[in-house]
């Protein structure tokens, strides 16, 4: 959830020079899960049903087969 934006800010100076309260102001422009430290935390793995998994594999094999056909046709027509 976004925190409230500051009243007056256009161009930010180097934050390393700022005291903690203004640094905190900077972080409030971002949602917490936008921070790099948070985005590098993996999302939970989804549990796919057997039917979905089989369908995905079928689609993948279908796409690979078509890709091979296109590449074969490309080479054959050279």
């Amino acid at each position: 959830v976004s925190a409230a934006p500051p009243d007056q800010q256009q161009e930010q100076p180097d934050r390393r020079q700022l005291p903690p309260d203004q640094g905190e102001e900077l972080i409030h422009h971002l949602e917490r899960d936008q921070l790099v430290a948070e985005t590098f935390r993996p999302v939970q793995r989804a549990r796919l049903s057997r039917r979905v998994t089989i369908s995905l594999w079928a689609l993948r094999i279908f796409a690979v087969a078509l890709g091979v056909m296109v590449i074969y046709t490309f080479i054959a027509r050279l």
Binding site: S2, P6, Q10, F74
Partner: protein, 455 residues
């Protein structure tokens, strides 16, 4: 999993340490907050547009514009005048989902698929992307070469120009700088509209072709190629990777989804209008044996337009091809870089310096460099590669579309921003249409290649 360098900052209560990437993104977000707070609507729009326009106009690349011009030169305006906007409407449905997923999860397509559904699916997707991107990038360099050939400049200049642009836009270590520079280049995609005006089309014939007629004539395989390559000219895997990752990199949030839709819709409209420009310019060649022009086998279209409609039309069309190729090199290289960083699990942002995101920047430059080297190989089948780039993208696209639909319906990730039923109906219809057209062309061409049947 590697993490980017974290610089020392004063400790905040309960907040993780800020990186340079966080600071850069926060500066961009502070302007968005300020514009929203003071109800500066147009300024807010200006701040939030970018990924959608770049994905859509980036797909108006060299091969696509040549495909539209070829359609016009071979079949005229009929069928294509309504068909191209229809395809961009399909692209809007897909790209809106990608933008929404990026804004809500703050993560790119590659990393979400990899983390949510497993490494196998993540790497398959990245593999598809790398293959189609490499082939397409080769085609982009070819398009630049075709445009430059009109000005009597060779392949070396095309390679130098493309690589110099990639390096130029990567300076600065800021997403905002990269996006605005590339948006500035995207404006010149409008040259195709200028070319269309210069050929002085008959407005009545443009209007009358809105009825999807006459339907293109020719063999079954030719029609399938036409459909597959035109679809591949409007919706491709790299657009999905790019827009989702760029939306996250830009710092978009669920509160920006409405503006993200405007951005994507504006991109679709502009790309559609500019694509129609290329079609109309090409259609000017129809009464002059335009179907015989091989666009990639030299400076075919610019020179033909030069003869038929004057030097200005040829020059503008050639400049448009150079721009279209150059813009696509930037966006497609960026999508490769995002995918590489996301799948390997290292820093993947234009807001990070090259020192802290080596893989991201190396992939960005590296893929463009490999494509550039290929077009310098004497005797390389550039014409065939360019013509097959869109078709390959079309046959591999359905898998990406299915995962976008799965992510956009994942309530664990998307919450109340998950797809509505109507979006799912349209999204599934788009995926099915693309899969059927791609499969029909691939199978028919394959049968012709091995048995000489199916025509």
């Amino acid at each position: 999993m590697a993490t980017p360098e974290v610089t020392a900052l004063p400790p905040f209560l309960g907040a993780p340490p800020l990186t340079d990437e966080d600071r850069a993104r926060s500066r961009d977000r502070s302007r968005v907050h300020h514009a929203r707070k003071h109800e500066r609507r147009w300024y807010l729009m200006w701040l939030l547009v970018g990924p959608g326009i770049l994905a859509m106009i980036g797909e108006n690349d060299g091969p696509s514009m040549i495909a539209y011009a070829s359609d016009g030169a071979q079949y005229g305006l009929g069928f294509f005048v309504p068909f191209i906007p229809l395809l961009f409407a399909m692209a809007f449905v897909v790209q809106e989902m990608a933008m929404r997923i990026g804004a809500v999860t703050h993560r790119g397509y590659g990393e979400l698929v990899l983390q949510r559904y497993g490494k196998v699916w993540g790497w398959f997707g990245a593999g598809d992307l790398c293959l189609t991107n490499l082939v397409t990038l080769i085609a982009e360099f070819v398009a630049i070469r075709v445009g430059l050939a009109y000005f009597h400049l060779g392949a070396g200049v095309a390679v130098g120009l493309g690589l110099a642009l990639v390096l130029f836009t990567l300076r600065g270590g800021r997403y905002w700088h990269w996006e605005r520079t590339v948006l500035g280049l995207a404006v010149f995609n409008g040259l195709f509209l200028v070319a269309a005006i210069l050929v002085k089309p008959h407005l009545g014939s443009v209007a009358s072709s809105l009825s999807f007629s006459p339907f293109p004539h020719g063999s079954f395989n030719t029609l399938l190629l036409l459909l597959a390559s035109t679809i591949g000219a409007t919706v491709t895997p790299w657009m999905i990777f790019f827009q989702q990752s760029a939306s996250a990199d830009k710092g978009m949030t669920p509160g920006d989804v409405r503006h993200g839709r405007y951005d994507t819709a504006l991109g679709a409209v502009l790309a559609s209008v500019f694509g129609l420009g290329a079609l109309i310019a090409g259609a000017a060649l129809l009464p002059h044996s335009g179907s015989g022009i091989q666009g990639f086998a030299g400076a075919g279209f610019p020179q033909a337009l030069d003869r038929i409609s004057g030097g200005a039309a040829g020059t503008v069309f050639a400049l448009g091809l150079i721009e279209a190729g150059a813009l696509a090199i930037l966006t497609i290289s960026a999508s490769t870089a995002y995918a590489a960083g996301e799948c390997i699990g290292v820093a993947h942002s234009f807001n990070t310096s090259p020192r802290n995101a080596g893989v991201f920047y190396a992939a960005n430059v590296g893929v463009a460099l490999i494509a550039a080297v290929v077009i310098l190989i004497p005797g390389a089948p550039l014409l065939s590669i360019a013509l097959n780039a869109n078709v390959l993208a079309t046959v591999l696209l359905p898998v990406s579309l299915v995962f976008v639909l799965m992510l956009a319906n994942d309530r664990g990730l998307m919450g109340r921003w998950a797809n509505r039923r109507s979006t799912n109906v349209v999204g599934i219809a788009v995926a099915a249409f693309v899969a059927i057209c791609g499969a029909a062309y691939a199978i028919d061409s394959f049968l012709q290649a091995i048995h000489g049947v199916g025509a």
